[in-house]
């Protein structure tokens, strides 16, 4: 056996193995997952492009050269840093890092392979066995609705705890109003990583997800606590309970009015994670795929920002082929005329979201920063590490950043979403 033959075989098997990992090649009949954003050929082209751009500081002077990979409004932002409160000397800048595939946790991969073949969809596009399955229901989505379902099924590690701290920014004004809150999230269904999977057996109220907040700032909300329960039933509104510290009362509050802005920020209740509501409340149209520069592996601790500066410097963005989905609310009086989602094809998390007003004029643009965090099982999970919320009509911004404490935490349990826990406050 010649050395050449051994080398050829090695290269062949190595290539085949890489192909398996990157493209999720699997025996016929088995679900192909994980699915990489790029095929081998596409990746090769991306790597070629990266040779020019990785490590480069992108700013006003060279933003046009990568403009095709950014939402139009963001290009305008980098072209006019003064308008957005950036100091004259520094301006606004970011850098480009190489694309890195995000592999979901073993739990997500296993659940996807187990449940994806059994997904049952009715004529309206609803998943009939919605509460009984987990993972990514459509590993190779063909429609906007399937992408939306995949987004909906990401349980952010099933349970997590993070602190969200950030300013509400009027560009150029150095006095900022801060929000600071502890947030806890727990999924009753679609669970993949923390037992019980795929769902809590004991769920008489039919809860989908609970979100618990302990607010520290702004001061008028200090020590107020709130939890929101989302139900599996698409026709049932969320329930919200609040311990409002200044009144020292437990209040059941209306969380059905999803278009109210939160704490002076640029976000409405529906904007959490890009969309925070029942999937069936919108229509979805897959526009196609678009390569964008996205923040998927960003260390938010490295962000630099002067008071009054709308967008932080030192964001790192990598190129990825996002799914572009046009989202319209079925409510004709909805606040936004439409949303454009740019969805990560590997995690189905939102990377960018553009909002348009009722006259279809560009209004807001949100960038969701992501980072890999170690789960309590020791695996890596790509999680939202913060959001840059930009209102282009009002020239205003908010920058809530997440300090993630735990992913896949068993400390976040069902008891937290009870009135008795809510009133364990001061």
């Amino acid at each position: 056996m010649s050395l050449h033959f051994v080398r050829t075989c090695s290269v062949f098997f190595a290539t085949a193995f890489m192909g398996f990992v990157l493209c999720g090649t699997a025996p016929a009949g088995e679900v192909q997952y994980p699915v990489a954003a790029y095929s081998a050929d596409e990746l090769a082209k991306v790597r070629e492009w990266e040779k020019t751009w990785v490590g480069k500081k992108i700013e006003k002077s060279n933003i046009d050269q990568v403009a095709q990979f950014l939402p139009d409004q963001i290009v305008q932002l980098y072209k006019d840093p003064k308008k957005w409160g950036a100091p004259e000397a520094e301006g606004l800048f970011f850098s480009i890092t190489p694309y890195t595939q995000v592999i979901e946790t073993t739990g997500v991969v296993t659940a996807t392979k187990k449940y994806a073949p059994s997904v049952k969809v009715n004529a309206e596009g609803d998943i009939v066995n919605y509460a009984d399955i987990a993972g990514v229901p459509f590993p190779s989505p063909k429609t906007g609705l399937e992408i939306a379902w995949n987004f909906d099924f990401n349980t952010h590690g099933d349970s997590n705890h993070y602190s969200r701290i950030g300013p509400v920014i009027a560009p150029g004004v150095s006095i900022e109003r801060n929000t600071n809150q502890d947030m806890y999230e727990l999924y009753w269904i679609h669970r993949t990583d923390v037992d019980p999977v795929p769902a809590y057996a004991d769920n008489p109220k039919g809860i989908h997800r609970g979100l618990f907040l302990h607010l520290y700032d702004p001061p008028e909300s200090q020590n107020s606590r709130f939890f929101n329960l989302r139900y599996i039933d698409k026709n049932k509104e969320d329930d919200g309970y609040m311990w409002y510290a200044p009144f020292r009362r437990i209040r059941r509050i209306n969380v059905g009015q999803r278009t109210d802005t939160i704490d002076g920020s640029d976000m409405i209740y529906d904007d959490e994670y890009g969309w925070d509501g029942h999937i069936q409340r919108n229509t979805y149209k897959l526009i196609g795929k678009k390569d964008l520069l996205c923040s998927r592996h960003t260390d938010i601790k490295k962000f630099q920002r002067a008071p009054g500066q709308a967008a932080p410097n030192n964001i790192t963005r990598e190129r990825i082929a996002t799914y572009v989905v046009e989202v319209k609310s079925k409510d004709p009086h909805y606040l936004y005329g439409k949303r454009i989602w740019y969805v990560d094809p590997e995690t189905y998390l939102m990377l960018w979201a553009e909002m348009y007003d009722e006259l279809q004029r560009p209004w807001k643009c949100f960038e969701y920063f992501h980072e890999n965090f170690k789960t309590n099982k020791g695996e890596m999970k790509n999680m939202i590490a913060g959001v840059m919320l930009l209102d282009f009509q009002r020239t205003h911004a908010s920058l809530p950043l997440h300090s993630i404490h735990e992913v896949g935490s068993e400390k976040v349990n069902k008891r937290m979403f009870t009135v008795s826990y809510l009133q364990q406050a001061y």
Binding site: P167, R177, D217, P218, E220, R252, G264, R394, H396
Partner: protein
């Protein structure tokens, strides 16, 4: 002098600590997050819009309320494990009423026996709350000085019956409950069951602590002017203070005979969050006994003597008891739900039934003609509707898509049984003299503007007897610490004998540094 320097030193020290806080965040975390501290430093003043001519000689300026206050809250996590948690919570306050220092004529109108109590906190008043909180699974126990809220409504107290109020410096609508309520030393336990309806049981025992309702002091902003209550204004306190001081002196101190007990069950049925409760308590407000006429006459004689001789009104408080704080029981409940079909509005209801509460009887319901005490049952309730609205163009263009909040409430109560000569109209419960029932409507409208930096609020109440309270409020909070507020509390009443604060229309200025 030394005390004044020490006080100033403490205040300056606290302010320096606050301003030097390392973080832009308001809440301060210390000891790796084990200790959480927050609070505020507040400067507050009322500028009276009009001072009646009869009160002229008790005022040099229209500022009749100027207060500096400091409030600290700390939560110390003593032990935190999956098995159990122990926390220690303390609330500390200090205030300094400047108005008598600024206005020497105003000082003349404040009775000397109440002066110190008015200008600074005394005794345990420094501590608003101090308790150990033990949590183990579904059990929870809180032991120490606490403020308990059992009601659901905002401005009126219907089912909120545990803690007495301190309305010397403010009233609901202009101050938050934390400031108005007096903590009581108690044991309070909870048990969250797994029973249907998420039933949660709560029990509290107040073993001996008793505090009476602190009513406004004569000559101060919230109290009546000695010009209206004194036989010889300027020559000593009025009959109001004579009565209130005696009521304070007759109040029971610590003692097991004061023990108060309460139970509460909270649950969730048919999409309604409800609670029912029972509380056996001693009334925080007194009734007068048969000695009242004799006691009142003592003041009248001293007053007449003052008029005739020009001497100071200076009666001696008698040793006999005039006021009793009698025991009664109350059962009640609350309910709240969201009605999706009504614009997703929030609805809250609370009710009470007081059993054997004590009242005085006076000829023609006149409090100066008291002749007997009696027991009556009282029933009442309150219904609150809250919602948020989008106003076309305004909400989007001026309010950054922050909706307008609206809350409307209606309260009703009735004293059951024979109402002949019963005195209740001065109690603040909204009755017309001679009426066994009272109704009140309360509203609150608020709108946040400029990304919540500015808030406009309009709150108020109307009682069909012709009594009203209107209070537009403007609040500006530009960053994480400072809050500037201005309000215009306006009071009015067409009801003779129930005038309330009808001549106290003011501009309220409030600056807070919050941390």
């Amino acid at each position: 002098m030394k005390k004044g320097i020490a006080t100033a030193g403490i205040l300056i020290g606290c302010v320096c600590f606050l301003l030097a806080a390392p973080s832009a965040q308001a809440t301060v975390f210390l000891m790796d997050g084990k200790l959480q501290v927050n609070g505020y430093f507040k400067e507050q003043a009322y500028l009276r819009l009009d001072i009646p001519k009869t009160e002229d000689h008790f005022h040099k300026s229209n500022f009749d309320f100027v207060r500096t206050s400091l409030f600290f809250e700390s939560l110390y996590k003593m032990h935190e494990s999956e098995d159990y948690t122990i926390n220690l919570f303390t609330g500390f306050r200090y205030y300094w009423m400047h108005d008598p220092h600024i206005d020497s004529q105003l000082k003349r109108g404040i009775p000397s026996c109440s002066y110190k109590e008015y200008t600074h906190p005394r005794g345990e008043d420094f501590i608003t709350e101090a308790y150990v909180h033990f949590i183990k699974g579904p059990f929870e126990l809180r032991a120490g000085k606490q403020i308990v809220v059992w009601g659901e409504t905002d401005i009126k107290r219907t089912a909120d019956v545990i803690n007495p109020l301190d309305v010397r410096y403010g009233s609901p609508g202009t101050e938050d409950w934390e400031t108005l309520k007096l903590g009581l030393w108690m044991l309070r336990g909870f048990y969250q069951t797994d029973l249907p309806g998420n039933l949660m049981f709560e029990m509290l025992v107040i073993p001996g602590d008793f505090k009476y309702t602190r009513v406004p002091i004569e000559g101060t902003h919230y109290g009546p002017s000695p010009a209206n209550t004194s036989f010889n204004p300027g020559k000593g306190f009025g009959i109001y203070e004579w009565v209130q001081e005696k009521a304070r002196r007759d109040a029971p101190g610590w003692g097991l005979r004061n023990t108060e007990v309460g139970f509460k069950i909270r649950g969730y049925t048919w999409d309604i969050d409800w609670s029912i409760f029972y509380f056996n308590t001693r009334n925080d407000s007194p009734t007068a006994n048969g000695n009242f006429s004799k006691f009142a006459n003592t003041y009248v004689f001293s007053g007449l003597k003052s008029i005739l001789t020009g001497s100071k009104i200076d009666p001696k408080f008698p040793g006999y008891k005039v006021f009793n704080y009698k025991r009664y029981e109350v059962i009640g409940g609350t309910a709240q739900t969201i009605i999706e079909k009504l614009h997703g509005s929030e609805w809250r209801f609370e009710w009470f039934y007081e059993m054997g509460n004590h009242f005085n009887k006076g000829t023609n319901n006149d409090s100066s003609e008291i002749y007997a005490e009696c027991e009556r049952d009282t029933v009442g309730g309150g219904l609150v509707y809250s919602d948020r609205f989008t106003i076309p163009w305004f909400t989007h263009s001026l309010a950054n898509d922050k909706k307008l909040s609206l809350s409307l409430s209606m309260f009703y109560e009735k004293v059951l049984g024979d109402f002949h000569d019963i005195i209740i109209y001065e109690s603040g419960r909204g009755h017309r003299p001679g009426d066994s029932h009272a109704t009140e409507f309360v509203w609150s409208i608020s709108q946040q503007l400029f990304q919540s930096q500015v808030m406009l609020m309009f709150t108020g109440s109307y009682n069909p007897i012709g009594k009203y309270f209107l209070c537009p409020i403007l609040s500006y909070a530009p960053g994480s610490h400072w809050r500037w507020e201005m309000a215009l509390p306006i009071y009015g009443s067409k009801a003779s004998g129930n005038k309330g604060l009808h001549d106290k229309d003011s501009i309220l200025f409030r600056i807070r540094y919050e941390f």
